[in-house]
């Protein structure tokens, strides 16, 4: 039982990490809406999540540990492309300065992404509260 709760939470937390990662990309796109020659980027959520859940993927949020003895654990350092390949967005209207950020698309994606993140948070909270109900059922 405990392990199944753990597995489910891990999946949800990884999905949240991918959402946060994507929020960063969208924030970068919006920040660079006026930068000449900036190309808007994004990841495909499905691929990113698949990569984040893959067993060989490095531990999310991992940091490299300082070691002073060969017996110490080295820890896992966070890699670069942990959540799938960054792709370029297809532009719908070209602009004179070579920038491909479409503000409407980015705004819509940002709203969608943060809503999806909050949905995941709700799932986590629900999971935790049912666990709390389970452990306090007899009292």
């Amino acid at each position: 039982m405990a392990s199944s709760l753990n597995t489910e939470l891990t999946t949800l937390l990884k999905a949240m990490d991918v959402r946060v990662y994507r929020q960063q990309i969208i924030a970068s796109n919006i920040a660079n809406a006026d930068t000449p020659n900036y190309k808007a980027r994004d990841v495909a959520f499905q691929d990113a999540l698949a990569e984040a859940l893959a067993p060989q993927s490095p531990v999310v949020q991992a940091v490299a540990l300082q070691t002073s003895s060969p017996l110490h654990f080295a820890g896992k350092s966070g890699g670069g492309d942990r959540y799938g390949t960054l792709k370029y967005r297809t532009e719908k209207q070209s602009s004179a300065d070579g920038n491909t950020v479409d503000m409407d698309v980015e705004r819509a994606q940002m709203a969608d992404n943060s809503l999806q993140y909050e949905t995941l948070l709700q799932f986590v909270n629900n999971r935790l509260s049912s666990m709390r109900t389970a452990i306090s059922a007899n009292s």
């Binding site: 946060v20 990662y21 990309i25 924030a27 920040a31 660079n32 960054l86």
Partner: protein, 136 residues
């Protein structure tokens, strides 16, 4: 927490847009300036933006850096005013090359971009606040 990268990215964009707005203010203020601190007529100033990686996420989080301020090479406006001490032999005074229409467009664009970045920041803040309430 990589959500804090969003704050870095958005705040860099906000300060870049504020700088652009500052340049617009200087340009509009000096639209009728005949001379400037270097003795030459005032030339319109533009800021140059560049995407720069921020935080530890490489290409995924790109902030905005201001590379510098460039002066417009547009020809100076000539005004016929023989009584001015700055008039040339033909009686023309070289005025600043600021185009007020262009500056107004720049102003609107800069303030809209600034507002959008504030919204991005608020969205990230809301996400963080909700995350802190997990399990409550």
């Amino acid at each position: 927490m990589s959500l804090s990268n969003v704050f870095q990215v958005s705040s860099s964009a906000m300060s870049a847009q504020a700088m652009r707005l500052n340049a617009v203010a200087s340009n509009l203020a000096n639209v009728d300036s005949v001379t400037s601190s270097n003795g030459q007529p005032y030339r319109a100033k533009q800021v140059v933006f560049s995407a720069t990686p921020m935080g530890d996420q490489g290409d995924a989080s790109q902030g905005v850096a201001v590379l510098g301020v460039v002066e417009s090479a547009a020809p100076l406006r000539k005004n016929y005013d023989p009584s001015s001490p700055f008039a040339d032999t033909d009686g023309y005074v070289s005025m600043s090359n600021v185009d007020p229409v262009e500056e107004m467009v720049n102003m609107i664009s800069a303030s809209r971009s600034y507002q959008t970045n504030v919204e991005v920041m608020n969205a990230a803040k809301q996400m963080m606040t909700k995350t802190l309430q997990i399990g409550q």
